[in-house]
């Protein structure tokens, strides 16, 4: 069996496989950088090409593309305040302020390092847990998903730096927005005003582009100054290396957030968007100087980036073990499995150990190489931060419009993006937190569905399940440790 594992890993060092991986990565980077497009779009485009390809080659292409696309998305989040993909929205909380202060290079360095090592972490966990894959996935059901989503919602209060009350209001409004659309449990339409467009709710891409991209563009146009407000922009290789070192400086944060990402990735359905925010909130809570988060703090970039990349390794677990996708990307990749003639599931692990390990190797290598390529390109990409705002702003607006349109070819998506953009700008002026609204929007309806499913399937006893209890306890302490700590100190002193 060990020879199989070794063969599997070595098989990726075939010239054709590497070439296809490289090609996929280039496509992925471009897609990630363009706002509105993402790895999912890339998979849809590339999957027809995979018909008839040998399996390792097929997956080198697809996974190379997918790994690289999320890194491309980080670049736009950091440089332009536009998340390239949903999970990147957490990156811009500290990534963009770092760019504004002239430290774009360092932020990019952190992002790339986190991508490489986060992906490595997820891949290693995946490899190590091979024998346990099925029991792990079987332990997670709707109650566990509900608690994780609830934790994510609880972190909304943590995110808001200015005023927790305003943060909660924003989050609440985001939750309300998430309820628009077809409600799966009851079969009713909510707040759709009989419009087909709103049947599926407010779309993710117009929301992300509108909420974050448009206010940034408006600010740029109105102020006229470039994104980077510092006199000197530090964006040389040594700055990126500085960011690289940040990962090792904050290794505890890295390990914490990669673990969070991997665990959340294992749970099918909860989605990668949750991972980045829970990681960010946890890192802030665990940090010695939480008030620095949101102002351009390196840990604030490290946290979401490591979790997002570790998540994909975790998401492969249910995909391989059961053929049940752990993330949206894995869902499309499942189709690729079937096209090359493989069936994910226990039989795959038994009969194709070598291929499974070559997948792990591709995942790791794709992340690492993607970082390297992007690092080389970064010095050129960073130049955008010096472009005057009167030019950059309109360019961003155009990118937002194109990105919104590219999702489904529906002009209403563009209209939504701009309406949400107006909301986002108003919120920014009134100091309400956009990230809080975004998090509420992502998690609100999800929490509702999981809560209902848990109750229907298990009754209130669902709260007594072991993993659920553990998560509740961890969550409670993590959110309240400050005043709990003071409480214990006081009792300690009294005794």
């Amino acid at each position: 069996m060990y020879t199989d594992i070794l063969n599997g890993i070595l098989s990726i060092f075939d010239p054709m496989v590497l070439l296809l991986m490289f090609g996929g990565m280039v496509v992925g980077l471009v897609l990630g950088i363009l706002p509105g497009l993402s790895g999912l779009t890339g998979l849809a485009i590339l999957i027809p090409l995979v018909f008839g390809m040998e399996k390792t080659q097929a997956f080198a292409l697809l996974m190379g593309m997918y790994a690289a696309s999320s890194q491309g998305g980080s670049v736009t989040a950091i440089l332009l305040n536009i998340p390239g993909t949903g999970p990147n929205a957490a990156t811009l909380l500290d990534g963009f302020p770092m760019t504004q202060q002239g430290h774009a290079g360092r932020a990019l360095g952190i992002s790339l390092a986190a991508s490489a090592f986060g992906g490595l972490f997820g891949g290693v966990v995946l490899a190590l847990s091979m024998p346990l894959l099925r029991p792990i996935v079987m332990a997670f059901g709707s109650p566990e998903s509900f608690i994780i989503v609830l934790l994510g919602l609880a972190y909304i209060g943590v995110l808001a730096t200015a005023s927790p009350l305003k943060g909660l209001i924003s989050g609440g409004f985001g939750v309300a927005l998430s309820f628009i659309g077809y409600q799966e449990v009851s079969g009713h339409m909510r707040f759709t005003a009989d419009s087909i467009y709103l049947f599926d709710g407010i779309r993710l891409v117009p929301m992300t582009l509108g909420l974050f991209g448009i206010p940034a563009a408006i600010d740029l146009i109105m102020s006229g100054s470039s994104i980077s407000q510092a006199k000197i922009v530090h964006a040389t290789a040594s700055d990126m290396l500085e960011g690289f070192k940040d990962l090792f400086r904050h290794w505890r944060t890295f390990l914490l957030c990669s673990s969070i990402g991997t665990v959340i990735g294992i749970i099918p359905g909860v989605g990668g968007d949750v991972a980045a925010w829970v990681a960010y909130g946890s890192a802030k809570q665990a940090s010695k100087h939480p008030e620095k988060f949101g102002t351009g703090c390196p840990e604030g970039v490290l946290a979401p980036e490591s979790s997002t990349n570790a998540k994909e390794g975790g998401a492969m677990i249910p995909t391989l073990a059961f053929g049940i996708p752990g993330s949206a990307g894995m869902a499309v990749l499942l189709g690729a499995f079937l096209i090359v003639g493989l069936t994910p599931g226990p039989l795959l692990l038994r009969d194709h150990v070598d291929f499974v390990f070559s997948l792990v190797a591709i995942l790791i290598l794709g992340n690492v190489l993607g970082s390297v390529i992007l690092a080389l390109a970064a010095t050129q990409l960073v130049k955008v931060v010096n472009v005057p705002g009167t030019i950059m702003g309109p360019i961003i607006l155009i990118l937002v419009a194109m990105g919104a349109y590219s999702t489904a070819g529906n002009i209403l998506d563009v209209l939504s993006a701009f309406l949400i953009g107006v909301l986002g700008y108003a919120m920014r002026r009134a100091h309400f937190s956009s990230p809080a609204l975004f998090l509420g929007y992502i998690l609100g309806a999800m929490a509702e569905s999981y809560f209902y499913l848990s109750l229907e399937a298990y009754g209130w006893m669902f709260l007594m399940r072991p993993i659920v209890l553990t998560l509740i306890v961890i969550g409670f302490f993590s959110l309240n440790y400050k005043w709990l700590g003071k409480l214990f100190k006081k009792t300690g002193r009294a005794a």
Partner: protein, 347 residues
Amino acid sequence: MKTSTWGKGLYFLAALFLWGGFVPVRPAVAAQSVADFYKGKTLTWICPFSPGGGYDVWARVLAPAVQKLTGATVVVKNMPGGSGLVGSNFMYTKAKPDGLTIAITQSFTMVIDSLFDNPAVKYDFKKFTWLGRLSTDDYVFSVGKNSRYKTMKEIKAAPRFKIALDSRTAVNGAGVTSFALAANLENASVVAGYAGSSEVKLAVLTGEVDGTSTSIGSQWQMLKSGQLIAVAVVGKERAVSLPDIPTIYELNPNMPAGTKKWIDQLTTLQDTGRAVYAPPGVPRDKADYLRGVIQKAVKDPAVTSRLEKQQFYVVYLSAAEYQKQLESLGLTPQDKAELQHLLLKKY
């Protein structure tokens, strides 16, 4: 006044255009055959669901075959939204009937939305230019390997038999309702709200719910590996891939006429399966040409082998036959109310 050289030139060109416009000079175009019409053109194939899903796969697997047969470039365009409504509405109201736009659809959804008077429906499904049915979809009701209730006897005796659904629509509920109705399960209780078919299957595996009904194709891997156990096929006949599994009719040979009426109605609706169509008003010659192309394309071995890899089987029905089937679909207001109750509220 002397006219300038430019003026003379323009005058000459204008005369040429005016004169040319009056001369009938296109006998070749009038005699162009339909086959020639398609060569070199772009045929847009609308898929009203997201990329990667079952309907998308069918369209993308058939597209190269259609391209080869017609000489046109076939482009699959996804238009997801409203569970297919966005695509159907587009094909009825906006797509041009010039024979260059076709679509694939889940006819069941299209028909039910229309029969249940969904206010967002802008089409009359009987007026579409139907080009042929690609497949019916066999649905199978299954329980998990570790389920507490595995035989029909155990299922009937269960205090509460939980059945998973993703979203609580009429179409999704049909397989479940047919099974529960046929087996006369008063203890059946639907647990709806799962994000998708994967989550539904996982819930059955972990024991969160007791069973579910989805297409055989989507359950195939798990059925083969024994993680899911098939209980009954939801359809009028046994499935080719599961010859030992009884149909829901066989579960209850003495089904009362009232129940049988509903089961018949539901399985007929289910049999409308996947179909290809064009906007209303496509000229007869182009429609017939496309019908012939589809009929040939589904026989292409490259197509069938790729489809079969994912457990999709072609069950072709000609456009003429299919149109007849669709014409016969209709509900009296009383039937409509009762069917809605059965599909959405009873369990």
